[in-house]
Symmetry: C2
């Protein structure tokens, strides 16, 4: 596997609207889309900065993964997504090297992308997503 760029950085927030305001008014970025991903129990807001997107994530359910993350660690950076040519082949290659996977098969994420997460136990505490 050879990632081409950082596709996005996921950031867990409590209040999507307040956070959009911060990224627009203070950081000078422009929110170009808001989308609900039911499968992940989140509402997301996207900003583009160079090649990379900032993806703000607000939980839509008290038991969703983002709600649990905030409960444990507080608001903040949640994951990094690397853009790769072939998620499925990358997963196979990693599994053969002993990397623990959250998703053994790619699934559909926000913006119709094919995605998969690696387990932070195998990556030095970093929740890494692969995107295609």
């Amino acid at each position: 596997m050879k990632p081409t760029h950082i596709e996005h950085i996921g950031i867990a927030v409590k209040d999507l609207q307040a956070s959009i305001k911060f990224y627009e008014d203070i950081l000078g970025l422009k929110c170009y889309g808001v989308e609900e991903v039911k499968d992940q129990k989140v509402k997301t807001a996207f900003f583009k900065v160079g090649q990379t997107k900032i993806e703000l994530l607000e939980s839509t359910e008290p038991d969703g993964p983002i709600a649990k993350f905030i409960e444990k660690k507080g608001e903040g950076i949640h994951h990094i997504a690397f853009a790769v040519d072939d998620v499925e082949a990358s997963l196979k290659g990693m599994e053969s090297k002993g990397v623990q996977l959250i998703d053994k098969q790619p699934r559909k994420g926000a913006e119709e992308m094919s995605i998969a997460f690696l387990h932070p136990k195998s990556t030095g505490g970093v929740l890494i997503e692969l995107c295609e």
Copy 2:
């Protein structure tokens, strides 16, 4: 302020050599430089992925900020650095909007860059660095 791209993502690690091996062997990136930043009590390793660098950070002192971060939160993503044209002007603009700053003036970071950190209290828990 209008950031042009994500300059780097800082990741706190316990063992720089083991982490370099992971980013090279598993993620397929290439470490192009290792540097000590005495001021921040860290040894850093850099990888390039598209426009963005991954900056691994190992503490050189038990009381350094990275050692304290790992003690509190474990290994993982530590900060995001936005590339801006003028760090000093960006800081002034943010301060006038009530953003709490860690650095009121730019200082010298790794790779001879002019840098400053914003306080996570003002940014929804995200440690944000500005780089020029």
